[in-house]
């Protein structure tokens, strides 16, 4: 058996799953988004689902909110993760324990984290009660709205909490493999600590930061469960909106749900493309 055939056969199971499940699902979603659904008698494809999505004001509000959630979470967690990695790569007493604690919440599911957020930060949650107990607020409901709030603070807090170790672990591994010699060179050539970070370390770890943050952005832009649990009812994040349409009692709303899902996928692809292009020029240019 030639090597080519062998490689083909070895890849076959994985490729089958990708092609059948991913592209299959995408294909069906695409067909439905074009109002092609023979089961309920829709056999003439058209763009009406897209038209109705793009003429709905809620869609734009949801898009802005979702972008705000994804962008803010990604930026804040990337910055804090780089800071954490800078501290964790130094040697100090108890580094092993700190490192362990830092990575601990990687194992906690998003959903569990979100429920924890709810218990802690909602207006009937632990912090609200504590603040009330200590007389900092009159009623627990005076506690600032951090969940179900229009600025999605609860959602962003949850993502930041969860994604810092994810990006941090990647960046830390990256820093450790690069070592400190490049920075030594820069210092001896006259760069200050800040200049060394800005012009040497940051560009060197940039590919790692970029791939980790792109993953975080794509995930936070397309994730359903966290905004569903911690988000305000209106405007809802795009995936929540799409899911609502999908579970609408009116079967005719499904094409709209599918159109929205396709739009979410396209939008995140386009945004990631521009993010990668722009940030590469800024950091390395």
């Amino acid at each position: 058996m030639s090597d080519r055939v062998k490689i083909f056969l070895l890849l076959l199971p994985a490729m089958t799953i990708i092609v059948v499940l991913f592209f299959g699902g995408l294909g069906i979603g695409l067909m439905r988004s074009f109002n092609y659904m023979p089961v309920i008698g829709l056999t003439e494809p058209d763009l009406s689902a897209y038209v109705s999505v793009f003429t709905d004001r809620e869609f734009y509000l949801s898009f802005l909110l979702t972008f705000h959630i994804a962008f803010t979470s990604t930026v804040i967690s990337s910055i804090l993760a780089i800071g954490a990695a800078l501290l964790l790569r130094r040697s100090f007493v108890g580094r092993g324990i700190v490192n362990f604690l830092f990575q601990l919440n990687l194992t906690v599911p998003h959903l569990v984290g979100a429920i924890g957020m709810l218990y802690l930060f909602s207006q009937s949650g632990s912090f609200a009660r504590l603040a009330h107990e200590f007389g900092m607020i009159q009623r627990p409901s005076d506690f600032p709205a951090l969940v179900f709030d229009p600025y999605a603070i609860g959602i962003i807090l949850q993502y930041v909490w969860k994604e810092i170790p994810f990006i941090g672990v990647i960046v830390l591994a990256n820093m450790q493999s690069i070592g400190e010699d490049y920075e030594s060179v820069a210092r001896s050539l006259g760069a200050s600590k800040w200049q060394t970070f800005r012009f040497v370390l940051l560009p060197l770890i940039f590919p790692g930061v970029l791939s980790a943050s792109v993953m975080v952005f794509a995930f936070t832009f397309g994730a359903y469960e966290i905004p569903a649990i911690l988000g305000a009812n209106f405007p809802a994040a795009l995936p929540v909106l799409a899911y609502r349409k999908y579970t609408d009692v009116d079967l005719a709303a499904r094409p709209e749900a599918m159109a929205m899902a396709i739009i979410i996928a396209l939008l995140s692809a386009v945004m990631i493309y521009f993010y990668v292009r722009y940030s590469r020029r800024r950091i390395r240019g």
């Binding site: 030594s184 820069a186 210092r187 001896s188 006259g190 200049q195 390395r284």
Partner: protein, 347 residues
């Protein structure tokens, strides 16, 4: 022009019991090219990093022109270090790499461009400014690293194993380039190497460091002629060490009584002489320091041939021209001569 004084410089790394560098003292005259020579792990790179301010000494002092620089930040010391693996910033062009130090000093872009151009001419890479470091050969990367260091006009230049990553034919080219740039710019230069040949071809003076301690600080020839001890002599390829007693003029040993040069130490010690200074088939008329030896083994090494000889029961080594190999057969007896000026007694 900067005179560098290193005084009792010591480094004990956290968790280690033995110092990596033990009370090293050196005076490096302004504008000189000095080699720190020693096997890997002997504390050379540690010394360089402490001079550059990249590592804090446990004790001791580093002073430039009489002023301690220990409290100066690395970027303010005027010391530039060129690492062995060059460490060119991979995401920058060659020109940006060379201009890095000037950019950090906020020099106007137009001036940076001009000076980078001049510097690339100086290291003979005039047309490669737009390339990425990965598109250069090892020798070219080395020159870019050198240009990047020299452009900031450092007071002290530190080079880590500057020739060891280069092919044999590039070594001499680079040696000449480093020496001529160093002489023209008059920069006090210190380089570390584990290769005694590299130290000898490049340096005005060599400091040999073994096990964290300085053994000898001298001009290169003195390590061959007047090594301080056996370890030093061995590091420089010495092979012959004969136990005996010196009275300052004569040395008594299993080789018999040999005449010593002036200034030889007295008392029990070891006689040493370089294999290449053993004269074979020599008709020394006075008979002074002439011995009879038997060839025990002949080792052909390409550029030289080593003869393992026995004088009585005592083994010694000699080096002869490889073209002469036909003249020798194992078991031959032959007269050898040890010129008195090439003998040296060590403790």
């Amino acid at each position: 022009m900067t005179h560098v004084s290193i005084k009792d410089l010591t480094k004990v790394y956290p968790g280690a019991t033995d110092p990596s560098l033990d009370r090293l003292s050196l005076e490096i005259p302004s504008g000189e090219l000095t080699a720190l020579l020693g096997p890997s792990g002997c504390g050379k790179t540690t010394t360089m990093k402490m001079i550059a301010g990249l590592l804090e000494p446990t004790s001791g002092d580093v002073a430039f022109d009489g002023r301690s620089v220990l409290n100066d930040k690395p970027e303010n010391r005027g010391v530039v270090m060129v690492f062995q693996n060059y460490l060119l910033f991979p995401y920058m062009s060659v020109a940006d790499n060379v201009g890095f130090g000037l950019k950090m000093r906020k020099i106007p872009a137009a001036e940076i461009k001009r000076r980078v151009g001049d510097m690339l001419d100086l290291v003979k890479l005039p047309d490669l400014g737009n390339r990425k470091p990965s598109a250069l050969s090892g020798g070219q990367q080395q020159r870019v690293a050198l240009a990047r260091a020299l452009i900031v006009q450092p007071n002290v230049l530190l080079l880590d194993e500057p020739l060891s990553n280069l092919d044999a034919h590039l070594r001499f080219e680079m040696r000449d380039l480093i020496r001529s740039l160093q002489q023209d710019m008059g920069i006090t230069t210190i380089f570390v190497t584990h290769d005694q040949e590299e130290a000898v071809v490049l340096a005005d003076r060599v400091a040999l460091i073994l096990d964290g301690k300085m053994k000898q600080y001298d001009t290169p020839d003195m390590f061959y002629k007047r090594p301080v001890d056996e370890a030093t002599a061995r590091f420089f390829g010495g092979h012959n060490f004969i136990q005996g007693v010196s009275d300052g003029r004569m040395f008594d040993s299993a080789l018999g009584r040999l005449v010593l040069p002036d200034g030889a130490t007295t008392g029990p010690g070891k006689l040493t002489f370089r294999p290449e200074n053993v004269r074979i088939w020599h008709n020394e008329t006075s008979g002074q320091n002439t011995l009879s030896a038997t060839i025990n083994d002949i080792i052909y090494l390409g550029t030289q041939t080593r003869l393992k000889l026995l004088v009585g029961e005592t083994p010694i080594e000699a080096v002869v021209n490889p073209n002469e190999i036909e003249r020798f057969t194992t078991g031959d007896s032959l007269p050898i001569h040890l010129p008195k000026s090439t003998l040296w007694v060590i403790a």
